[in-house]
Symmetry: C2
Subunit: 336 residues, 2 copies
DNA sequence: TTGAAAGCGCTAACAC
DNA sequence: GTGTTAGCGCTTTCAA
């Protein structure tokens, strides 16, 4: 009975017809409600409800040139540091009506470039990336598309893109200095892959000190609990007697903790342990892990702000430096 | 010198003009290359390269009615079980040219509905959700939009949407039966919030047994390492002497492990510990955690297949049951 | 194998 | 305050 039983979704025209107004009016009800008389507005809104009308994002995008989508490229979702960042980012972008699309890169510049293209394809208005090391193809893509891009987890004033992050070198130095002040001389450093990971590289550079009376040995591994275990096993197999392990991530520190337990090495009595990140679990391991707090939630918020600013004003925001902070807990002790 | 310095991105018309063909031909080069003569195709492709032409996803979507975007609604990104699922899902969707947009719900049906609307707004062609408990508004949205929706982490043949997942009741029963067979009689069960989490509810129901000679006590907490710690603390404060703790997630089991360590309670000598999930870290804690393996990677693949099938054929796929499996490690022992 | 032209659903001038 | 209308960038008939 009802016209023809076409199952298609209602569109602007359908609503306009049913409400006895023009498409422009319906569009106004949607986009600038106060430009429409109360009476008309209510009627149109009712029809919208009846017809279950949902505006087409594609059509809107094609006209306004805006998709309200921003893309984030993170190394992995498997590490809480990134998922926490994304949660904060998403929350604050949502306040401005922006959706977040996430893609993972495995810290591989080629994958990053591919995924970035995918994000451009679906019409992302801006991109969020980790760190400042990207493939030439990636840089070219950004240049061609003139897309706003913000580099996070890294602070670098002089980078050609705005950065929102912390001083990675400073963070690791903070951890090292704490151990040195506590009298540690032989320290094992457990870090993630150096290749194409500038955050790790920066943290390593923060440990350099030409005039030092201490010894550092580096152990590279995957950034995972298993990786922390494996690296610690290698540490224990060395002839050197280390009194402390400095891990570039709390995830690694947790692995180290387990491996030490497996070898009946007491923390902190026989081995001190410091992490970086301050993930939620770090305060409830046994013993609780001394670490460097990285303000990821604030980073998410600051990044969202930077994106919104850029999109609104068309001018690139300034880089933002967030402070890292030492949190002393029970996995470290003074050497006497 | 070069025409006018308009900074806009090239479009189909620009390419067509530059290549000396019609827009239709360029469109064909993009969508059905073999319908174009090799010569024309090569010329057009070259121009596409020169002009750095990237087709507009919005315009494509508006015409084809397809956005090639699928949306996933997960409770949280903070639990590896979901991030691993999403990683697998994304990987397999990508094979079919589908992008994944992720939204988190905090297991709150209202938030889920809101985010679902957001996904519909951006033109998601299909939705993936966790479990089968959703708000009436959500169901209404699905009905109205006629969107393909797949429920995961849950298997339920008779649900009105296809499900891809495991038998949650069976998984917890597997864990319980293992403990019972080992002679445990007083068992503490640590689980996440029951409210609006049907996976937890199902796992609880799997523990019911009218004729039993054992005692079960439930401890509800947040699904996090801290939550596991807190629940374990409550367990230790009880008068009952438990010989085993059954955690509905490995994340909880890890918290339990730390809390037990904090109280000098040896695992498994004084307390057995079983988890569910089989996350990567579970095999490298100390002691390694006995758990129920949940095939999340296969779930991601099966879900992707189901979505692709539905989108291709327009007919809803059948539900898929994935087997959970007991993995015995060192956190449990036989009571003698 | 190719081109012309008609939309897709919406926004944004511009006119009334 | 409201309607008319010209596109946005593309796909897709239909002819040639």
């Amino acid at each position: 009975m009802e016209s023809r039983p076409k199952k298609k979704r209602a569109n602007l025209r359908d609503v306009a017809k049913a409400a006895g107004v023009s498409v422009a009016t319906v569009s106004r009800v949607l986009n600038s409600p106060k430009a429409v008389s109360e009476e008309t507005r209510l009627r149109v809104q009712e029809v919208i409800g009846m017809l279950h009308f949902v505006p087409s994002a594609a059509a809107r995008a094609i006209n306004s040139g805006r998709t309200r989508v921003v893309g984030a490229l993170v190394p992995t979702l498997d590490n809480a540091i990134f998922s926490r960042f994304l949660a904060a980012l998403e929350k604050h972008l949502a306040k401005h009506g922006l959706s977040l699309v996430v893609a993972t890169t495995s810290d591989d510049p080629e994958i990053e470039t591919e995924k970035a293209k995918g994000l451009v394809d679906i019409g992302a208005e801006a991109l969020i990336v980790s760190g400042i090391a990207h493939s030439p193809d990636f840089d070219r893509l950004i240049e061609q598309t003139r897309l706003p891009v913000i580099a996070t987890s890294y602070f670098e004033k002089s980078y050609h893109l705005p950065t929102v992050g912390y001083d990675n070198a400073g963070a690791s130095r903070l951890a090292l200095n704490f151990l040195l002040a506590a009298g540690h001389k032989n320290i094992a450093v457990v870090h993630g892959p150096v290749k194409s990971n500038d955050r790790t590289q920066a943290r390593l550079s923060g440990l350099k000190n030409p005039v030092s009376s201490h010894t550092l040995q580096m152990f590279e591994t995957d950034i995972s609990v298993e990786g922390g275990c494996a690296a610690t096993l290698r540490i224990l197999e060395r002839d050197t007697v280390f009194t402390a392990i400095l891990c570039f991530s709390d995830v690694l520190a947790m692995g180290a903790l387990f491996e030490l337990q497996r070898h009946q090495i007491r923390v902190p009595d026989e081995m001190s342990l410091v992490g970086i990140d301050d993930l939620p679990f770090s305060s409830c391991t046994f013993p609780e892990i001394t670490t460097i707090h990285l303000p990821v939630a604030r980073m998410g918020e600051a990044t969202a702000q930077a994106v919104v600013h850029w999109l609104d004003t068309q001018v690139a925001p300034k880089s933002v430096l967030l402070e890292a902070e030492l949190i002393v807990r029970n996995s470290t002790r003074e050497l006497n």
